[in-house]
Structure formats: structure tokens, C-alpha cells
């Protein structure tokens, strides 16, 4: 019997498959289903700073803007005595999950500003989160904000949060950094226990009928896993930090590749949304089968065995890899290039 146990964020997980922040953790029933299907831990849906802000503004409009103030009506909507904002609902739900699940629950904070993280972090810790996943979404569009200051912003937020909480913190990164290894190293030094690679963002699309720009988010494809596998291998080769991969991991093959390249855990999202929580148990069964067939005794044994440091041909993770892919492409007969 192979041992699927792994460690992540100082926690011992029974296996490396972790549902990532998704709507599946919004109800206790589906969270239980994930646990029953074998999830090693659970990352809760994100507490979106933007959502909280929007809701707060809506509440403000409730309190003030709806109070147009004329003689017959001081306001227009009844005050809600039991009003509960998203943050409070999130904290309450976190407590519920913690009291009903045996697996670790990682709270996810998603935001754009440099404010507010400390307070949110403290409250999530108090509510029982085993760890925090910090998902900073910042798109630098300014003419004068250079790459260093963007990275500084990430580090500052991390440091603020680290100072405020005593539970492990992971940082979920975008793939769009010039020097990810350098950045992750700095983050580790700033106290990050893990890095989650990579975030998938809404993309702006143009509606050709209305000529409006509209956000789009599509479920991931397996192809996207390759980028993560490469960077897991490179990071593992350089740093001793926990690594979670997320984005495009749909089956056992991709999960095993991630582990081989050095990931501690593999986060699953789109595939669970498409096929349901039971996909975890199927994937785990496939992983076991592969490991048995290939005579691996434990996940820890194979973890990082194909990292940049340990791979037989580490350069393949670098530019040559790109060239060899191009070289492997053979033009169809009769086509002139």
C-alpha cells in the first residue's frame, strides 16, 4: 500500500490533493463531500476584498443615499437588524467547516489594496483557520510603477499579515513576474511558508455587439498545468519552500508530474466543478495504481525527484526546452515554410 501522505504549510495531509478556493466550499454539504471523497485539505472560497468593499458601499448607500430625505420619507428601505456582511458570513462558515471537517481548512484572502489584510487575517485565525492563503491580485497599469515596486507591494502585504497572525501563510502568485525565483525567495525570507502557483485571472473580453469590455473566466485546461509543473521544478530546485500547484490539474498524470517536479500539494478546481467531488477519489485511485506500477512507496519519495535540482537534464526546464519543442515539430509534407 503506497503512502500518499504529504506535508504542506506545516500540516500533515493524508494526501496531496487539495480542492482550491472555489464555490465547492460554500456549503457544508459539498465540503463534506470533498472530505469524504478523500481531499487532503480544503482551501475555502476566497474572501474577496472587492466583494466586501462593494458590499460595504452598498450598505453605505443603504444608510445614506437611499435616505433622499424629503418630508414624507426619511429613508426607503428597512434597516436589517440581523444584517451580516460577507466577512462575518465567511468567519461563521469557517467556524462551521472547522467544527465539521477533520481535514485542515485553509482560509483564502483575495484582495487588491494594501489595507485591511491584518484585520481580516486576525479574524480568520481567531475563527480557526489552519493556515491562510494570500491571493494578491494587483494589475500594474501605471506608467511610473516599476517591477520592483510591484514586488515590494506584495512583500509589504505579506509582512503585514505575517506580523498579525501566528498561523502559516501561503502566497498565491500570478505567472507574470520577471523573476519568480527571486521573488519567492524574498517571500520565504519575509515569512511565507508556501507559494501557490499560479493564479488564473479573469480576462477582459470585448463584446462585438455592444462594444463593451466584459470580464470572462473559463475553466482551466490541462495544457495550463505544464507552466505550473515547470515552475514547481525550478522553484523546488532553488528553494526549500512548500509549493502548491494550481491551474489545469485534471487527472492523476498531471498530479503525479507536479509532485515529481517538486510540488507538496496539487490544488484542484475546474475539474471538481465539472465532475464533482468524487473525482478526487478516482484520481487518488489512479495515483496509487501508477505508484504501485512504478514501485513508489510514498509520495514523499517521489516529491521533487524531477525538480530542477534532481532532474537528469535540468536544462530541459530552461530555454532549450522551448527550442526542443520547436524542433520536434515536423512540417506536413508538401507545405513550404
Amino acid at each position: 500500500m503506497v503512502d500518499l501522505q504529504t506535508t504542506y504549510l506545516g500540516l500533515t495531509l493524508k494526501n496531496p490533493l487539495v480542492p482550491s478556493a472555489s464555490p465547492l466550499s460554500r456549503s457544508l454539504d459539498s465540503a463534506r463531500h470533498l472530505e469524504d471523497a478523500g481531499a487532503g485539505a480544503l482551501v475555502m472560497y476566497s474572501l474577496f476584498e472587492e466583494e466586501i468593499l462593494a458590499e460595504e458601499h452598498q450598505y453605505e448607500r443603504f444608510v445614506h443615499n437611499a435616505a433622499l430625505g424629503h418630508a414624507e420619507a426619511a429613508d426607503f428601505l428597512p434597516r436589517q437588524a440581523h444584517y451580516q456582511g460577507s466577512l462575518d458570513s465567511y468567519l461563521q462558515h469557517l467556524q462551521t467547516l472547522k467544527s465539521h471537517l477533520a481535514i485542515p481548512v485553509i482560509a483564502s484572502l483575495n484582495g487588491v489594496s494594501e489595507e485591511g489584510w491584518t484585520d481580516f487575517g486576525r479574524e480568520l485565525e481567531r475563527a480557526g483557520a489552519d493556515a491562510l492563503e494570500l491571493n494578491i491580485y494587483f494589475l500594474a497599469t501605471g506608467l511610473h510603477e516599476d517591477a520592483t515596486s510591484v514586488e515590494r507591494r506584495y512583500l509589504d502585504i505579506l509582512i503585514q499579515l505575517q506580523d498579525a497572525v501566528n498561523i502559516p501563510v501561503s502566497v498565491k502568485l500570478s505567472p507574470q513576474f520577471s523573476s519568480p525565483v527571486h521573488l519567492v525567495n524574498q517571500m520565504q525570507q519575509a515569512g511565507a511558508s508556501a507559494v501557490v502557483i499560479f493564479n488564473r485571472f479573469y480576462q477582459s473580453d470585448i463584446n462585438l455587439e455592444t462594444l463593451q469590455v466584459e470580464p470572462q473566466l473559463q475553466l482551466s485546461s490541462s495544457y495550463e498545468s505544464l507552466l505550473r509543473i515547470r515552475w514547481a521544478a525550478i522553484l523546488r530546485g532553488a528553494l526549500d519552500i512548500d509549493i502548491a500547484v494550481t491551474g489545469g490539474f485534471h487527472n492523476s498524470s498531471e498530479a503525479i508530474k507536479a509532485l515529481l517536479s517538486g510540488a507538496n500539494v496539487v490544488q484542484l478546481c475546474s475539474v471538481l466543478l465539472q465532475h464533482g467531488p468524487d473525482h478526487i477519489s478516482r484520481t487518488l485511485a489512479d495515483m496509487r495504481r501508477w505508484m504501485e506500477e512504478h514501485e513508489y512507496a510514498s509520495v514523499q519519495q517521489l516529491q521533487g525527484s524531477l525538480s530542477y535540482r534532481n532532474a537528469a537534464d535540468p536544462a530541459a526546464y530552461e530555454r532549450e526546452n522551448y527550442l526542443s519543442v520547436l524542433d520536434s515539430f515536423t512540417p506536413p509534407a508538401g507545405v513550404r515554410y
Binding site: I52, Y59, H64, A66, L68, D75, L211
Partner: protein
């Protein structure tokens, strides 16, 4: 003395608090100013707060006050403790049941915030005409004079009623007491529970209808016994004053507040006396105190119990020394010898006076909340002191017609507020000034032993309403039931710099007072930017003057345009009511309490703003001399008619109180078109038209809620005198010849800046997508030029209606609106429908307008948006009541038809004496389009000329009714509260009548005007007042009910989703020769949406199936077509997405997520089912052997 706590609350909350504790069934219906009582009761029950006996009162909203009274009657008969709250017209609707409830001796209380009954005009303000109309019902009438009394009498009345079995109408002055915030002492639940008479309660329950002890009530009696039975209750009524006094005495024993039925206050040897009830009694009392100090032997008798009237008790309260009495009534009974209180006092004196009869005179005061001040009281005493006092008088107005009014010395003060802080705050309804002041009062009330009073005055607009907050603080209870008077305010704050142009605020400043101005003008420049009168008053009165750029502070703190906490901080920092640090801490605590867990970042930003305010508050050193040339005040242009200048203009300028009786129309008739004279300059930005991009689609004109952007087609030759910046261009489209120009012109001083015109504009620059054919730009630099352009635009000739294709949006929008610049909310979803009606049919419309938003922005003085055209034709408008509007409009139609028939008969008789063919041409004209209507008008003009020449009796008779030979269009307009609820019976009857009237329902899905209460149009799951826990029943399908009649034209429209469908529906409705019903989706501020998203919300409502678009035209069935056409596609947007975008729904997710989800699921199912049902109806086969031509003007969708 038992436990009591102090609290800051207004009269409505005080009464609702007690009523909610004492009752089990509460039947409610919204009406100003009583609505908040029902709202509180509903909220508390929704929160699960129990009454004294541990059960949560059942709060049920009814379809009208008549319904509430019926439910009250039923609940009482079934043995419950039950109550209701109302005012004015609402009380009148309860009268029939009140006779019944009293006749059956059912103990209960109706709490009334007394309000004027509509006569020549509606008024939401206070007098006692409503309660006086109820004095014959058999109810006891108990009056409280202040917020504390209102709270106390809410209990005393219930206790007395239980004991004495006489139901009580407990009333207090609307607004002055119902809305005044005051510091009150509130007995605990335990105190009240110990006090309430349980035996009497048990007796009430034992009388309940039950099959266990069956009895018969509500019999029909005959001449033989009815009279005797009616007299059988006399001992009960005779004894009831004693029962009330006993309840007062018991209450005093535990609270320390002793009340008397008739309470005398003043000199023991008073010779002159005023008798009065209501909030004015305290004003008289403080004046009596002053006059006594001056050596006058005067007194006041406060009447608490008006029915049953105890002349004996009243006489016992009077000092024997009284020689002359003035009885003041807050009501008018036209044609009576005197008002009710006066007559009862005279009767009591005649019956019980043991010695010389004093002189008794009667006066009217305070109608419709007219101010009643110590100066006026002094004038009454002065009148009593005259050798020959007027037997009947008025005080508070200048009556130069009947010469009944007393003059008063405006400089007179009672001295009651000498040691109080009196403060005035000028703000906008939307800038949070009032809420900040309410908050300040609460802080002072809670944090100190000081007493506080807050009263808030609003103007009549919804968009850009001016608010003036009157605050007093002092060591003794404040009983001055009148505004802070001119020259008395020790602190004045102006939150909006634009008011400097409009009002002489510092007229109200006391010597040495403080004035704080929010302005972006730097402190070292402001003196030279002040109007002359401000400089003068600052110097004359030695005012301390501060400025702050509150908008800059707010912006820096991330608060946008919210300046309320900043200005509140200024008040506390300067006024010195509390130590500064304590005050600042208290404001911060209040901010945390308001936002706290719900909005942490906003709480944080407010606290940052509070911390940074004082650094931006600057004391200004006044200049040495008055050197400004800027004037303050509002004056109307010379072009305005004389009446408008002299009367309307003065009301606009805030001087309506000074207008004498002689200038008032005697029958409530006012001129149209006056809103155009109010240039309110509300917009920060206005739309700018780009001629190179515009396709002249007309959509911007259509959606403008305030008719502030217009289009006009005119010959190019008319441009000779055009201002340099006036824009126009050759109009596009084959309907118009070359040389015809079009202009889209904004009225820069009337636009509210809502930006909906820009939002709807479909045209974008091909190279720069953010540039549309309309774009917003700052108003100030454009104001002057665009005002000139607007004036020129108005001077251009109208394009002939007969040359316009009104079935196209472009064409319809070229027609002149007869509705402009209303006071409706910024972004209002109702007014575009009304404006469009006025464009299509305005020159031949009669409008019956139900009470509600549309009657307020349509007909609330000082001005009206309804206007006539250059020929003098325009909509004739009237508002009868809330409940009777359909019938009111039907009556118009019946009269018009009758007059038309008479005209046709006379025409037929005179045909031979007229020009050849004229009578036949007139009689035969169908007037089915603008061209035919135009021709008919010309024929009728010719007819009138000929009739004048003929001069016979028959000719003169026809001349009197000849106008009815031209088609008239009757429009019955109102909101969903009217159509779905209170007026439902009338609407149904009119729908069944088949008469040619058009009903437009402006469906905001709540009672908008009274603040967003639930109606039967409110959708399931929406949070609204009276449905604080989310409405748990579905929206009534009024359209389907109407379609059941088969011969009613019905349309369901949403202009923001499909404007041409709305246009065609209105045209079809009007052309339909029977009854038409158009139900129009109208986004409202009560939906909890930003109304700049108005069109998107309409689109989402349609796309989600919440608001399917369709038209049902019975003419189609006659021709073998299915009468129902669905104009919107099957739902394509998840209903969840629609409700998520509106706070009225989404709030429930934050407070009761499981309930919200359950209601949503049910609503989703309903929406899908409804569309499916309509689809099936629209698919029915109506074909016959000989199908005719489709009569519909167009096919949409």
C-alpha cells in the same frame, strides 16, 4: 418611582414602542406622517421582539386604511388586543368601522399623527381636521402635546380603554410631535406589565366571539329599539373621563408624570385664559410664564380629553377669576359659527359656570403646520385685553379678505430659550445633514444630562430637497413647539455653498452667533465672495465666521461627497455643547455603531475624516466694510406672468408665509408651467451634444426624467439669431426635407446631472469608443452659454405635429413635452412615461392623478411641471384622492362623453345654418391621427366663429360645448399602491366599464412616496418597509386580471428595455376606443439601486423574466388574431442575477440567507411559470374564416 431609562426618540417611535408592547395584532397602512409607527412595529416584529405578554405581535399590512380598520375590528371581536396607526385621509377611511368598534364597546386605541384633511389642496402637514372629523364616532379623543406625552398617553389610553370599554383615538400633532426628536423617559416592560389592568384584559377576552360561547353582534335594528340601544351607553361615556383620569393617576404613581384631563397652567388669579390642545399648548404655557413674569394675570388650559368632553372637569380646572377666554382650534369648519373646541367650551361654560359668564372668543391657528409662536400667543392675549375682542379670529396669517387675523409682534420672545443652545443647519436631503443632526441629538442626549430637541423642515422636492434642521439643547425640558426664530440661532451651519445665493440664512443668527460655511473658496478669499447681506449681517451681529472645504476633506478621506460626519464634527468642535474630546469620541463611537461590523472600511474612513476635520476648519477674519455687490434671493424673470411673480415667486423664495389671503385662489386653481421658473442648478455635470456622431434617434430625450434635454426640428432659416454656441444640423431621415435642422439642447439649469441620456445614447465614436454622441461635462463653465442656447431653443417654432410620424421614437421626441423639470428624484423611473404621454397627447389630455409620487412632483407647490403649449392648450390636471383615482377619471370621461353627445345633437340641429358641409365634416371626422385632429380643430374654430355670428339660443348652447367636438384623452395615472391596493376596487370597476379611459400604472413595486412600503406589486423576496423580513407572497399579476375582461387593452412595458414597445403601447392604448391599462416598470430609489443604472436594471428585469413585455389588444381578436403579443423573449438572464443586482433583494442574503434563498427559489419558479403561461396564451388560435387586417401599428419583438 419605578425604573425608567432615558432615550432620544421622536413621537412616532415613542408611540409605536408602547403600542408594540401592548398589542397582539397591528393592522397597518402607510400614510404620512404616521407611516413610521407601522414601520417600527413591522421591524420589531420581524426581529422577533415580543410584547408584554411574550408573544410577537402579528403585524399585517392592509390594502387601505379602511381595510386596516376592518382587520382591527375583526381582531378585537376575536378577543385580541389590537391597534392601528393613521392620519388624515386614512382616518377618514376608518370612520365607518370606528362607529362599529365604538358601538360594540371594543377596547382599543388608534394612534393618530394628526394631519390636515385634503380640501382645496392636499397637505401632509398638521392640523386637527382629521381627528375632528372623527369626533362623532363614539371614540374617545385623547390628545398628547409632546413626545413624552405621546409615549405616556399611548399607555394611558390603552389602560383606560380596557377599563372603560370606550375605544380611544389617541392623537398628537403630525410632524411637530410625530417627527420631533426629544429626550424622553421610558418605563420598563416590567413597570408596564405590573400596571396594566389584567382583569379588564380578561374581561375583554371573555367578550370575544367564540363558538364556545356564541353570541350575535352586528345586528340590524329597527325604529323600535335602535334609539334606546344607542342611549344605553350613556353611563359608560359619562364615567369614561374618570376612568382616563384614574389611569393617568396610576401612571403618575409609578412614573412621576402626572397628567390631568384639563390641565391648568398659569396665574392662580388669571383673568385671561387660552384654551388649546396639541403641541401648541406648551407654546402657550411658556408664553404664559413670560407674561406672568411681566405682571399679567394669564393662564392656559390644556385640553387632553376632547371626547367624551367633560365640561364639569374642565370648569373645575378653571380659576374663578377668569374674565375672558380665547379658545384656539387647529381646524376649520367652513361655515360654522365656531370650531369644535370653541363650541364645546362655550357649552360647558353655559352649563356649568356658577357665576358670571366670561367672554369667550374663538380662533384658528396652525392649519397645515403653520407656525404658532409665543408672539402669536401674546397677540391672542392682547386681543383678549381689548375692550371689544373679535369674537372670531385667526392667528399666524395675514387675512386681508375677511380681516380676521391678529397682527403679532415678530420681535416678541417668551424667553424660554434664552439659556438654550439653538442651532440651524442648512443642507440637502441627499447630503446627510439631517441624519447627522439626528445623530448629534442622540449623542448629546445620551452623553449628557442636557435635554435636546430636533425638528427637520424639508422643501417639497425629491431631487435636491433643501433641509433645515432646527436643534435646541438645554438644561430643562424643551417644550417650544416652534422653529428656531429669526435672530435667535446661536449656531448656523451652511452645508451647501449654493444656498448663499438663495437664502438669507443669517437673518436667523443671534448677536454674537457662529456661522460655519462649507465652501471650496479659501479662507482668505471668502469674505470678498460673500453676498452683500452676509457681509452686512456678520458685521452687524458680530458673528464668528468659520469655513471648511468639507468636500475636499471627504474626498481625501475616501468618503466621496459624504460630508455629514465632517460638518457634524465642526458643530461639536465649535458649539461647545460637549467638551471637544468627549464629543469627537462620541461621534466616532456613533460611526462605529452605524457601520461597525457591516462596513469597516467606511467606518475607518469616517473616523479619519473626523480626525482631519479640525485642521481644515478655519476662522475667517471679517472685512472692515460691506463691499460686496452680490445679491441673495430668488426672483423670477419679468417674462413670468404677474401672478406667478407675485405668488409663486414668493413661495419659491421661501416667503410663502408672508402672502396674504387675498392673493390665494379660492378654489385651489393654479396656473401651469411654473417649474420652468425654478432654476435650481442641481447638476455638477450636464450632457454635451456631438453633432458629428448623433443619428437623431431621440432616445436621450425619451429617457430624461426631468425633460431637460429636448429635440426640436425647425427650418434652417430660423437660425439667423442663434447664439454663437448654439448647435444644430440637418435632420437625418427621409421624413424630413432638406433645410430642416434638428437641435438637441439641454436646459443647463434644470438638468439634475443623472447622466441617463448619456447612458442610453447608442452611438460611439468609431475611433474613441468612450466618446458618445452625448457626453457629460462640468456644468459651471457651460451654464451661461447653454442658458442662452436654451432660451433660443425655446423661442424656435414647434414642428407641426401633423408632419411628424409619432410612431417613431425620433418623431415622437420632436413633439413638445407638456411636462418638464419636475421635482422627482434624480434618475426617476416614472417621469419618462409621463413626459412621453404629455408629448403624444398633452394638448388634449385630462389627467386624473392618484395621490403619490406623481401627484407630489406633479402638483406640490410652489410649482408644477405640467405646462401648456404656445396655443394655450395643455394637460388639465387634478388629484382627487389616493383611493378614488380610477373613478375620478371615469367621471371625467362620462362627463366629456355626455358633453360631446350634446354638442353633436346641437350640431345636427344647426347643420343647415352653418357653412355647407361643415357640420357633416365635423360629425364624420374620426380624429384618428394628428393630421385629422388638427383639421378638426380648425373646423371647430370655424364653427365657433359662425356660431358667434348666428347668436341664437341653440347656437350659444353649442358654442358652450363646441370644444367637445374635438377629441379629448383621459389619462388616469398613479402608482402601484393605488392600482394594486387602495384603488384596486375602483380600477377593477373602471376596467369593467368599457369606457374610453387610459390607465397608466407607474409600477415601482412599492409605495414610493411614503418611503417604500410593501404593496401587492412588491415581488416575492424583496425587502421593503412592512416586509422587513422579505415579502413572502408573489407579485399580483394585474395585467392578467385585466386581460380576463377580454375588452381591455393591456400593455406591460419597460422603457429602458424596449423604448419603441413603450411608445407603441401608449399610442395603441390611446387609440383603443375602450378601457386601456398600461403597466409601466419604474425603477425607484426604493429598489436600492443606483438610478444611473436605471436602464440596465430595466433590461435585467425583462431579460430575467421579472418583467415580461407584452401587449394585449382586443381589436386583434375581432380580426381573428391572437390579441396577446409577447414583446420580450423567454428569460435569458438567471433570475438570481437580476435580484443580486438590487439591494432590495440582496439585503436579505446578508440578514436571513436561508429565507432569502427559499424565497428566491420560489420566485424563480414563478417567473418561469408566468412567462410560460403568457407564451401559451399568446399561442392560442383566434383565427376565423375571414381574418381582417392587423390593426396594430407595428410589430415589436
Amino acid at each position: 418611582m419605578s425604573d425608567q431609562h432615558t432615550a432620544m426618540m421622536d413621537g412616532n417611535e415613542a408611540v409605536a414602542h408602547i403600542a408594540h408592547l401592548l398589542n397582539e395584532v397591528i393592522a397597518i397602512y402607510p400614510i404620512t406622517p404616521a407611516s413610521p409607527m407601522g414601520e417600527h412595529a413591522d421591524s420589531w416584529s420581524a426581529e422577533g421582539i415580543p410584547n408584554l405578554w411574550g408573544t410577537v405581535p402579528a403585524v399585517i399590512e392592509m390594502q387601505s386604511e379602511a381595510g386596516a380598520a376592518g382587520a382591527l375590528h375583526g381582531a378585537l371581536q376575536a378577543g385580541s388586543l389590537a391597534t392601528t396607526f393613521t392620519a388624515s385621509q386614512g382616518l377618514l377611511l376608518m370612520l365607518p368601522n370606528m362607529f362599529k368598534i365604538a358601538g360594540e364597546l371594543s377596547p382599543s386605541v388608534i394612534h393618530v399623527a394628526a394631519r390636515t384633511v385634503a380640501s382645496h389642496a392636499l397637505s401632509i402637514f398638521c392640523d386637527h381636521s382629521d381627528v375632528m372629523a372623527a369626533r362623532g364616532t363614539g371614540y374617545a379623543l385623547l390628545c398628547s402635546n409632546s413626545v413624552q406625552e405621546a409615549l405616556d398617553f399611548a399607555f394611558i389610553s390603552q389602560q383606560a380603554s380596557l377599563r372603560g370599554r370606550v375605544p380611544v383615538l389617541h392623537f398628537f400633532d403630525g410632524f411637530r410631535t410625530s417627527h420631533e426628536i426629544s429626550k424622553v423617559r421610558v418605563p420598563t416592560r416590567e413597570t408596564l406589565l405590573a400596571l396594566i389592568d389584567r382583569e379588564a384584559l380578561a374581561a375583554h377576552r371573555s367578550r370575544a366571539m367564540t363558538p364556545e360561547r356564541p353570541v350575535l353582534r352586528g345586528t340590524s335594528q329597527n325604529p323600535d329599539v335602535f334609539f334606546q340601544a344607542r342611549e344605553s351607553v350613556n353611563p359608560i361615556y359619562s364615567d369614561f373621563p374618570n376612568v382616563v383620569q384614574q389611569a393617568m393617576d396610576e401612571y403618575a404613581a409609578v412614573t412621576g408624570r402626572q397628567y390631568r384631563l384639563y390641565e391648568y397652567h398659569g396665574a392662580a388669579d388669571a383673568e385671561q385664559l387660552v384654551v388649546i390642545m396639541g403641541s401648541g399648548a406648551d407654546t402657550v404655557a411658556e408664553t404664559v410664564d413670560y407674561l406672568q413674569r411681566q405682571g399679567h394675570a394669564v393662564g392656559v388650559l390644556k385640553v387632553r380629553l376632547f371626547r367624551p368632553f367633560s365640561g364639569e372637569a374642565l370648569m373645575a380646572a378653571l380659576p374663578d377669576t377668569v374674565r375672558s377666554i380665547a379658545v384656539l382650534d387647529r381646524t376649520k369648519e367652513a361655515g360654522a359659527e365656531g370650531e369644535p373646541l370653541y363650541k364645546d367650551v362655550v357649552t360647558a361654560l353655559a352649563r356649568y359656570r356658577r357665576h358670571d359668564m366670561p367672554l369667550v372668543i374663538g380662533g384658528r391657528y396652525g392649519l397645515s403646520s403653520k407656525e404658532f409662536t409665543p408672539a402669536m400667543v401674546a397677540a391672542v392675549f392682547a386681543e383678549l385685553g381689548r375692550a371689544q375682542p373679535r369674537p372670531s379670529f385667526t392667528v399666524g396669517i395675514r387675512d386681508d379678505v375677511s380681516n380676521l387675523s391678529l397682527a403679532w409682534d415678530t420681535a416678541f420672545r417668551s424667553g424660554a430659550n434664552e439659556h438654550n443652545v439653538q442651532a440651524l443647519f442648512y443642507g440637502l436631503g441627499s447630503d446627510g445633514t439631517v441624519s447627522a443632526n439626528k445623530n448629534s441629538i442622540k449623542i448629546i442626549g445620551d452623553e449628557t444630562d442636557l435635554h435636546a430637541q430636533g425638528y427637520f423642515v424639508y422643501d417639497s422636492k425629491k431631487a435636491g430637497a433643501v433641509t433645515i434642521s432646527h436643534l435646541r439643547f438645554g438644561e430643562k425640558p424643551i417644550r417650544s413647539a416652534y422653529l428656531v426664530e429669526a435672530g435667535d440661532a446661536g449656531f448656523i451651519a451652511c452645508h451647501q455653498p449654493v444656498f448663499l445665493e438663495r437664502f438669507d440664512m443669517l437673518e436667523n443668527a443671534a448677536q454674537g452667533a457662529t456661522f460655519v460655511l462649507n465652501t471650496d473658496v479659501p479662507p482668505d478669499e471668502i469674505w470678498h465672495r460673500l453676498p452683500r447681506i452676509y457681509q452686512q449681517r456678520i458685521l452687524d451681529k458680530g458673528l464668528t465666521f468659520y469655513v471648511i472645504d468639507a468636500y475636499a476633506v471627504a474626498l481625501a478621506a475616501g468618503l466621496g461627497k459624504r460630508i455629514n460626519t465632517i460638518m457634524q464634527t465642526c458643530f461639536f468642535a465649535i458649539a461647545g455643547v460637549l467638551p471637544r474630546e468627549q464629543a469627537l469620541q462620541a461621534i466616532k463611537n456613533a460611526v462605529r455603531k452605524t457601520y461597525g461590523q457591516r462596513s469597516r472600511s467606511i467606518a475607518k474612513r469616517n473616523i479619519e475624516a473626523i480626525d482631519s476635520t479640525l485642521a481644515h476648519l478655519h476662522k475667517v477674519q471679517p472685512g472692515a466694510v460691506v463691499d460686496s455687490t452680490l445679491e441673495t434671493g430668488i426672483s423670477l424673470p419679468e417674462t413670468a406672468p404677474q401672478f406667478v411673480r407675485e405668488v409663486t415667486g414668493r413661495i419659491i423664495a421661501g416667503q410663502g408665509d408672508l402672502i396674504p389671503v387675498s392673493q390665494m385662489p379660492v378654489d385651489g386653481t393654479w396656473p401651469l408651467g411654473t417649474a420652468a421658473f425654478e432654476k435650481r442648478n442641481l447638476a455638477l455635470e450636464i450632457p454635451v451634444w456631438e453633432t458629428d456622431l448623433c443619428t437623431h434617434c431621440g432616445k436621450c430625450v425619451f429617457v430624461c426624467p426631468h425633460s431637460a434635454i429636448r429635440s426640436k426640428a425647425f427650418p434652417e432659416s430660423a437660425l439667423e439669431q442663434a447664439p454663437a454656441t448654439f448647435k444644430s444640423i440637418q435632420i437625418k431621415g427621409k421624413d424630413f426635407p432638406a433645410g430642416v435642422h434638428i437641435s438637441y439642447q439641454v436646459a443647463p439649469e434644470d438638468c439634475t446631472g443623472c447622466s441617463l441620456c448619456v447612458d442610453i445614447c447608442p452611438i460611439r465614436d468609431k475611433s474613441v469608443a468612450s466618446r458618445k454622441a452625448l457626453n457629460m461635462a462640468p456644468q459651471p463653465p457651460l451654464r451661461e452659454d447653454e442658458a442662452d442656447n436654451w432660451a433660443f431653443f425655446e423661442s424656435l417654432p414647434e414642428y407641426q405635429h401633423r408632419d411628424i410620424n409619432a410612431a417613431t421614437m425620433k418623431g415622437a421626441m420632436l413633439m413638445e413635452p407638456h411636462f418638464e423639470f419636475s421635482g422627482a428624484c434624480v434618475g426617476c423611473g416614472e417621469t419618462p412615461y409621463i413626459r412621453m404621454l404629455s408629448q403624444l397627447f398633452g394638448d388634449r389630455m385630462l389627467v386624473a392623478n392618484a395621490t403619490g409620487c406623481s401627484s407630489i412632483y406633479g402638483g406640490n407647490l410652489p410649482t408644477t411641471p405640467w405646462r401648456a403649449n404656445a396655443q394655450g392648450r395643455g394637460p388639465a390636471w387634478n388629484n382627487s384622492l389616493f383611493e378614488d383615482n380610477a373613478e375620478f377619471g371615469l367621471g371625467m370621461r362620462v362627463a366629456l362623453d355626455n358633453q360631446e353627445r350634446r354638442a353633436r345633437d346641437l350640431l345636427a340641429g344647426l347643420g343647415n345654418t352653418l357653412s355647407s358641409g361643415l357640420a357633416d365634416a365635423i360629425a364624420g371626422c374620426q380624429q384618428s391621427d394628428e393630421a385629422e385632429i388638427h383639421e378638426q380643430r380648425e373646423r371647430v374654430a370655424q364653427l365657433r366663429a359662425e356660431l358667434s355670428r348666428i347668436g341664437s339660443e341653440a347656437a350659444n348652447s353649442l358654442l358652450a360645448v363646441a370644444e367637445h367636438l374635438c377629441r379629448k384623452s383621459v389619462w388616469i395615472i398613479g402608482g402601484d399602491g393605488w392600482a394594486y391596493d387602495i384603488g384596486s376596487g375602483g380600477v377593477d370597476h373602471v376596467l369593467a366599464s368599457g369606457r374610453n379611459v387610459n390607465i397608466l400604472v407607474l409600477d415601482t413595486e412599492v409605495y414610493s412616496n411614503t418611503g417604500g412600503q410593501t404593496s401587492k406589486a412588491t415581488p416575492r423576496g424583496a425587502v421593503a418597509k412592512f416586509s422587513a423580513g422579505g415579502k413572502n407572497t408573489g407579485k399580483k399579476d394585474l395585467a392578467r386580471l385585466a386581460m380576463d375582461y377580454d375588452n381591455v387593452y393591456v400593455a406591460h412595458v419597460a422603457y429602458g428595455a424596449k423604448d419603441t414597445q413603450t411608445l407603441h403601447a401608449l399610442l395603441e392604448a390611446e387609440s383603443y376606443p375602450g378601457t386601456s391599462l398600461v403597466i409601466a416598470y419604474s425603477p425607484c430609489i426604493a429598489h436600492g439601486v443606483d438610478l444611473s443604472m436605471n436602464h440596465k436594471q430595466q433590461q435585467a428585469a425583462v431579460d430575467s423574466g421579472h418583467w415580461p413585455l407584452f401587449r394585449f389588444d382586443p381589436r386583434r381578436a375581432e380580426l381573428g388574431h391572437n390579441p396577446l403579443r409577447l414583446d420580450s423573449k423567454p428569460p435569458s438572464l438567471p433570475y438570481r442575477e437580476f435580484v443580486r443586482s438590487e439591494a432590495r433583494f440582496s439585503m436579505l442574503w446578508q440578514s436571513q440567507p436561508e429565507r432569502a434563498e427559499a424565497l428566491l427559489k420560489e420566485a424563480e419558479r414563478e417567473v418561469a411559470e408566468r412567462y410560460h403561461r403568457y407564451q401559451q396564451l399568446a399561442a392560442l388560435d383566434y383565427s376565423t374564416d375571414a381574418p381582417g387586417q392587423d390593426p396594430g401599428r407595428t410589430e415589436d419583438g
